[in-house]
């Protein structure tokens, strides 16, 4: 064992690293005294919802990681197979607490696509607005949240305050703060309240200010840079191999965005550029999210300017109490703040869905990718890497 010279010139002790067996698997012998099992979670402030990591560490380095889920008792996909289509609408939002609106939109879109219903223009604009507001409130927590994992809590407090202001707007528009239950099959559930545009602008101005402050606090911060640049690297070759989407892929130089590549709702009438970075580390992912926050603010301003003054908000649908959706299957997708978020929906022509399968980014990000990324990571960086992938455990065990 080498002796460490001093703390500034620290070198990892490689002598304890597991050797590989002939079949390529790691030779981890727990009785050797070289390895320790460390459980992180299931309760952890760094993640929304409950998920745990079973880490095998050697020294302060992770040699093997395993993601465990199952702490939430949910099974919403299965529950929906027993519910009327309309009853799935309050159920599906719970598949991702952080951004429930994408679930609402995708369920509605699936039902509309399978039944051949076209929704009114006004409803399309309102849906676009709500989806961008959902992204805004999500990013307001995630962007400073990355610094939060490195014990820089002040940004989180600013973000949470502003997120609450966005939730106030949600409350005005949809009647709910967290579960908005606004995008209903056939349209939406309400017009913009009086003076909404003005209040939205007031909040957006505050968020503009926040972006400047967070720039100084996080991105020009020596500690943040030291802890994130070069840490949590995702090889560009992994992007397609692991099915990595959203900001995680964009930070590796892949300009992929469902809003641009497969425009839905009113996105083809909005002016925006897909953001990207090259370095593919935690810092780059944070940068992508910050740029997206700026872009979302701009998109909301564009939407508010283009929003029609009045119009129908819901297309006529069959009686929801016995709405039978024609036999068929469809895959619909949208870009959530975590990446491509899709519903694969199958209807057998009955009153209830035969199968609704969610393709969420968290499943691949938090299980296969995270398990790979954590190998050789320092245990102090584990939660930072985890948060940089922006996973949502409820979406894994839907």
């Amino acid at each position: 064992m080498k002796k460490q010279k001093n703390i500034f010139n620290w070198q990892a002790d490689r002598s304890k690293y597991p050797e590989k067996k002939k079949n390529g698997k790691l030779d981890i012998d727990m009785s050797s005294g070289k390895f320790v099992k460390l459980w992180q979670g299931p309760n952890h402030p760094g993640i929304t919802g409950n998920m745990s990591l079973e880490l095998t560490i050697s020294g302060d380095e992770v040699v093997e990681a395993k993601t465990h889920v199952g702490y939430l008792h949910r099974g919403f996909e299965k529950l929906m197979e027993r519910r009327l289509w309309i009853q799935c609408f309050p159920t599906c939002v719970r598949m991702c607490v952080a951004e429930p609106d994408y679930n609402e939109y995708l369920l509605a879109k699936s039902a509309e696509e399978l039944s051949g219903i076209e929704i009114p223009e006004m409803a399309e604009w309102l849906r676009t607005l709500v989806l961008e507001m959902a992204r805004l409130q999500s990013l307001l927590r995630t962007v400073p949240g990355q610094a939060g994992t490195l014990s820089l809590g002040v940004g989180v407090q600013w973000g949470v305050y502003l997120r609450d202001l966005v939730l106030d707007l949600f409350e005005e528009l949809t009647g709910g703060r967290v579960y908005h239950m606004y995008i209903i099959p056939g349209g939406v559930r309400g017009l913009l309240p009086d003076g909404f545009k003005k209040r939205m602008e007031e909040v957006l101005k505050k968020i503009d200010e926040f972006v400047k402050n967070i720039e100084n606090l996080m991105f020009n911060n020596i500690v943040f840079k030291k802890r994130t640049i070069g840490v949590g690297y995702i090889k560009p070759s992994w992007i397609d191999k692991y099915g990595i989407v959203g900001p995680n892929a964009r930070a590796a130089g892949f300009k992929r965005d469902v809003r641009k590549d497969y425009p839905y709702l009113k996105y083809n009438e909005l002016d925006f550029e897909v953001t990207s970075e090259k370095d593919s580390d935690i810092f780059a992912r944070s940068m992508v999210r910050k740029k997206e926050l700026i872009m979302t603010i701009d998109l909301i301003r564009q939407i508010m300017a283009k929003m029609p003054k009045k119009g129908d908000i819901k297309a006529p649908t069959p009686n929801v109490l016995h709405w039978k959706i024609p036999k068929g299957e469809t895959y619909v997708r949208s870009e959530s703040s975590r990446g491509e978020y899709g519903f694969y929906t199958v209807s057998d022509g009955s009153k209830t869905p035969r199968r609704i399968n969610l393709r969420g980014p968290s499943y691949t990000h938090a299980i296969s990718l995270l398990e790979r990324m954590l190998v050789n990571a320092n245990i102090a960086d584990v939660h930072s890497i985890m948060v940089s992938l922006q996973t949502c455990p409820p979406e894994i065990e839907r």
């Binding site: 009327l84 002040v154 005005e172 009686n319 109490l321």
Partner: protein, 598 residues
Amino acid sequence: MAIKDILTPFTAWKKVFNEPVTIKDPFNDRPGAERYRGFHKNELQTCIGCGSCEEICENEAIDLVAVKGYETKNGDSGLRPMVDYGRCCWCALCVDVCTTGSLTLSNEYTWVAENPDEFRFVPGAENKAWDKNELGWKKPVPNYEFYGQKRVKMEELSPEERDHSFIEIIKGYSKEQAQLEADRCVECGICIATCPANMGIPEYIKAIREDDMEHGLKILYETNPLPEICGRICTHKCETVCSVGHRGEPLSIRWLKRYIADQVESAEYKRILGTDGIENNGKTVAIIGSGPAGLSAAHYLSLMGYKVTIYEQYAKAGGMMRYGIPEYRLPYDQIDKDINYILSLGVNIKYNTKIGKDISLAELRDKYDAVFAGTGLHLGRSTRIPGTDHEHVYQAIDLLNKITEGKEIHVAEKIVVIGGGNVAMDITRSLARLQNQKYGKVQIIATALESEENLPADVEEVIEAREEKAIINPGWGPQYIEIENGKIKGLHVNKCLSIFDEEGRFNPKFDENNKNFFEADMIVESIGQGMDIAYITEDIKSELEFGPRGRIVVDENFQSGAKWLFVGGDIIQGPDVIHGIANGHKAAYGIDNFLKNK
């Protein structure tokens, strides 16, 4: 490493001088937004307990329970929603689907209670602090509906197409139209309780949605053996209470029933309804009159194995349905379709046999195990004003009868009809057609004591009569018929001020200064019909009990004081077809019980 990166984070310190955004304020409430989905409110007076909220709730958080002060009545189940806040997720689908609009959410969101059971409550019944909150979630804007509010329009002959002939006016729904209309049903079942025959309405409407006509027909025949007839001329009390009608137009339940019956060929009936090979139980029942009550009783009795014989005074079966209702509303072939099926069950019918003339009631009593009388209201009532004894003053019911029989009737160039009920409209419209055929124009006036808005006739009857160029001029009381040289000149009327006196008795008041004169060569009286129960001889009468207006008193099984005699139909309840059918059905079970225990 840049020195800037060390210093800039410290700019966050400038926020130290900002006012804090979160402050501890336990005393002031922050009210929820205008649309906030908070605690439930319910206007119990408006709510009808239809249960749509219970149906749509994905968490099964809503149960309908009995609430003190609200009784079950027509159009109101008497139940009100109870919400369990251990289950509710405040999605407000219950509010959006509410058929009456009584259920809303307030913007209140804090509620502290020690007893967890308190959170299961009946909104509106427990005087909650938020019951008077104006703000909160309401059904959003027009055109935001969970089910169709407008009826699928029924196609009918235009006035020009129909005013010369007796061809049926209503064309009936196509499959697409029927399914679209059936889709609007919320399956609350409020209609079942109101329908005198308690038909399984939501169930047969569901059969239309699923395009299962055989199942639909089975449901119809469970409670109503005259679906073709009822599907055309029922007084549809179900539609009056339909919960969908509270904010939109009620379902066309009657036309949907007709749709099912129209889809099935009469040859298929026995197979679908499984009525081949009914075993005879050796007991016999006589039925007087082949109207809805008699036919209904005959149908259900023969299904139970009784040998049924109907005695009918006219040459054809159907009673008032055939001899009172004009063909353009109820074509004879449709009457025959329903009746022929009932006769095919082994029901024997003796036409042109009037009880009391050709055979006595006592004979029936001796010959059969039980007798059911559904003899209806066939006696026209007269206004008894001066001039009604003229030969060209007719009773509507007699004329309708003759039109059915195909006999020649006197049709004058100018006619006045006295009466504002459905029979008055029937005769007005029938005579208008005959005037058109004879003179090529319509000159007929129907007048009634009742004002326009209180006319007893169905609104659509009045509208259609006017479309056919008949004049409906209500609100006049007939005074006398002017006759000159033995010919009718017309009817003198005074404006009617009120019909009933303070005690609710029929005692019309007229305005002597507001007179009118309707020119006519022929007058038709249609102010209601009376019953002719002369066939009940004195010795049998002594066993019976009579109630107000000479009606025979019967028990809930329509059994009279003379235990062998059951009475139903217009002479007991109604007058309308569906009451007759319901009476006949219940009487059939009454007779069965009576004969089993005899």
